[in-house]
């Protein structure tokens, strides 16, 4: 089955892409390189320019300036039907007047490839929908339609497959299942995938590389783990997972660590985890890497301690409890505590101290909205 698809992904490179619409700029000076065979996710909130980026790559929009290079060739002004790129659209856009099989065979027929029907059938079998070949799109469920859309794109063996939030319309369980299938298919066929999504879990789960896009620019790009452990901007820290962020003036700097002062307490960060070394600095920590204590913990150079504060809210989410802790002059902190047999471990209104390891602290290059100078 897999032999039907020759791994022939191509490198994609965007050079200085800029796209202006009447009244606003959707993309500002975007540079991006995606190596062949990679599963790349473009992650961002709605309106960040990610779908426009995808449409420029597909050829459905022309950039105001910049170049789109595919496999080393400039395709900026190539028409969509002449690009070796296929898209799985957010709306699926399956042709309602054709059978599922004819939908999948459409691209093959247009390119006059031999035996379009057996090839389309193979692709349908790959997404386990061979039995629905003669049905019409309207007769399938959302998840099935999504798989047909995927088969219709994959069967053409494009150099680059674009996925425009294809899982957005599915319910959680189906979505999970499709994520696993999609990843498996990508590994099997070895194509370059560019997945556009606003779902950070989906992006981190599936992609080799994630680029976080915000207001038409790429804020940060890297492997999902790196992005999660070391967010470099306040936007990434907040959009990709949750973060507790503290803003203070840099007060101390040693060979390998840096400290800021906030409400009379010093918080340290390793120098190699800090983007900014002086002035007003934002430090952060992930909620699952913070702990609370009923007594003030012993001070240690490896530990950042805040408190005392008061538990304002407890949310039970199944695997963990999420505590909202208000610390005077510092603000609200979120702490996740796993439910490993002793839940709840704290009561609402209790006085607690919060600690987290210096090595888990990260320093941001900018300040969160509202804290700018």
């Amino acid at each position: 089955m897999a032999k039907e698809f020759v791994p022939a992904g191509a490198d994609l490179e965007l050079r200085g892409i800029r796209k202006e619409f009447p009244g606003f700029t959707a993309i500002e000076n975007l540079d991006l390189q995606i190596p062949a065979g990679e599963f790349f996710a473009l992650l961002g909130p709605s309106g960040c320019g990610k779908t426009t980026t995808l449409r420029i790559i597909a050829g459905l929009e022309e950039p105001t300036s910049g170049q789109v290079m595919l496999g080393g060739q400039d395709v900026t002004f190539t028409k969509p039907h002449e690009r070796p790129v296929n898209t799985v659209f957010q709306s699926y856009a399956l042709f309602p007047h054709m059978s599922i099989l004819e939908n999948v065979a459409f691209g093959l027929r247009r390119r006059k490839i031999e035996n379009p029907i057996p090839k389309a059938m193979d692709a349908l079998n790959l997404v386990e929908l061979g039995y629905a070949a003669e049905r019409r799109p309207q007769q399938l469920s959302g998840g099935q339609q999504q798989r047909v859309a995927l088969a219709r794109a994959l069967v053409n063996r494009p150099s680059l497959l674009l996925l425009d939030e294809p899982l957005g319309a599915l319910d959680l369980k189906l979505r999970r299942q499709m994520q696993i299938e999609l990843k498996a298919i990508q590994m099997e066929v070895g194509l370059t995938f560019l997945h556009v999504t606003h779902d950070q879990e989906e992006a981190m789960d599936m992609a080799d590389t994630v680029a976080v896009m915000h207001k038409g620019r790429i804020e940060q790009m890297g492997a999902p783990e790196a992005l999660y452990e070391r967010p470099k901007t306040a936007f990434v820290a907040k959009f990709l997972g949750q973060s507790n962020i503290f803003v203070g003036q840099a007060v101390e700097s040693s060979a390998n660590s840096l400290a800021i002062e906030i409400a009379g307490t010093k918080l340290s960060v390793p120098k190699h985890r800090a983007e900014k070394q002086s002035g007003k600095i934002a430090l952060g920590v992930r909620p699952e890497k913070a702990f609370f204590h009923h007594e003030a913990p012993a001070t240690s150079p490896d530990l950042n301690i805040l408190g005392p504060g008061e538990i304002k809210d407890i949310r039970f989410t199944g695997v963990s409890n999420q505590y909202l802790i208000e610390i005077p002059n510092v603000g609200d902190l979120i702490v996740f505590a796993q439910n490993v047999g002793m839940s709840p471990v704290a009561e609402l209104g209790q006085q607690v101290w919060v600690s987290f390891k210096v090595e888990h602290t990260f320093g941001l290059s900018d300040l969160p909205a509202g804290d700018e100078d």
Partner: protein, 304 residues
């Protein structure tokens, strides 16, 4: 029948459960009465008349009830050229109306989507001719195409038209008039289909290696077929029975008369009511047959 295409391509899957038979009947009654009085009764009267035979006394315009099918044979042999001509003109005029209306409807329904105000304005322009009686508009064309009109003088001066050539009274003028008069009936259903066309299908087809011509042939045209069908039916059926454009008082001559002109002449001038009725019945039968075959062939039985 064809009007169904204006609202939806699909019949409702399930009728609402019968709540109260009496209320439903009361609501249906005005429509049923209307149909009975203004369709069934005249139709029956027409069919009965078509079977009458001449009064034995020989008085002109007097007929007696009979079951006499001879009128049918008579009119077919007498009016065969007019019958053929009617369908020939109707095919031609429908074809030209479609060729002119589709790009127009596409422009208004697809290209002008981003400019709703201009879209509504252009649509009004398509309907605007209805504000003037179509008799007046056809007479206007008669003047424009008449032998000594500035149009013909100009065409002659640039030698596009010879000195002995003219428009009025030719099949060309009649088809021209028919096409002109029925273009709005073609454009409006096409517009409704095209205006609803989901452009994402066109993008998807382009993404799947279809060039613009293939996108049109494989996606746009099939998806707007309901509009094409209702448009062609709404033009073809009335054109076949039209008696204004082909009349010698308007754009035609005795060489261009259609079935409608013959029905008119038999009813109003010759007082040959059975022949006129038989001709009407034949016209209706042939149209019904053609439309059924057409709708079956294009796979849009929902319309019937």
């Amino acid at each position: 029948m064809a009007f169904a295409a204006f609202s939806s391509n699909k019949p409702a899957p399930n009728a609402a459960p019968m709540k109260s038979g009496k209320i439903v009947l009361a609501l249906l009654l005005p429509g049923l009465l209307y149909l009975a009085m203004f369709f069934m009764v005249p139709l029956a009267s027409l069919l009965v008349t078509s079977l009458e035979s001449p009064d034995p006394s020989g008085a002109i315009g007097q007929y007696v009830y009979a079951v006499d099918f001879s009128s049918y044979g008579n009119v077919i042999s007498r009016y065969f050229p007019q019958i053929l001509r009617s369908f020939g003109y109707a095919f031609a005029a429908t074809f030209f109306a479609l060729v002119i209306s589709y790009p127009l409807a596409y422009f208004i329904g697809v290209r002008l989507r981003t400019r709703p105000l201009i879209q509504k304005l252009t649509l009004t322009l398509v309907i605007a001719p209805f504000f003037i009686s179509f008799l007046l508009r056809t007479i206007a064309w008669k003047q424009i195409l008449s032998d000594n009109s500035p149009t013909l003088t100009f065409l002659r001066s640039i030698h596009l038209l010879g000195d002995n050539q003219f428009f009025l009274g030719t099949p060309f003028a009649v088809i021209w008039g028919l096409t002109y008069n029925f273009i709005p009936f073609m454009t409006l259903p096409l517009y409704t289909s095209l205006e609803r066309l989901d452009l994402r299908y066109l993008e998807a087809a382009g993404d799947l290696y279809a060039n613009p011509a293939q996108v049109f042939r494989k996606i746009t045209l099939p998806l707007t077929m309901p509009g094409v069908i209702s448009g062609t039916l709404l033009t073809f059926i009335p054109i076949t029975g039209d008696y204004v454009n082909a009349s010698r008082d308007f754009l035609g001559s005795s060489q261009t008369s259609m079935i409608g002109n013959m029905v008119q002449a038999d009813f109003l001038q010759n007082s040959d009511y059975p022949s006129a009725s038989a001709l009407s019945a034949i016209l209706m039968g042939v149209i019904l047959l053609l439309v059924t075959v057409y709708v079956r062939r294009t796979g849009t039985e929902d319309l019937l």
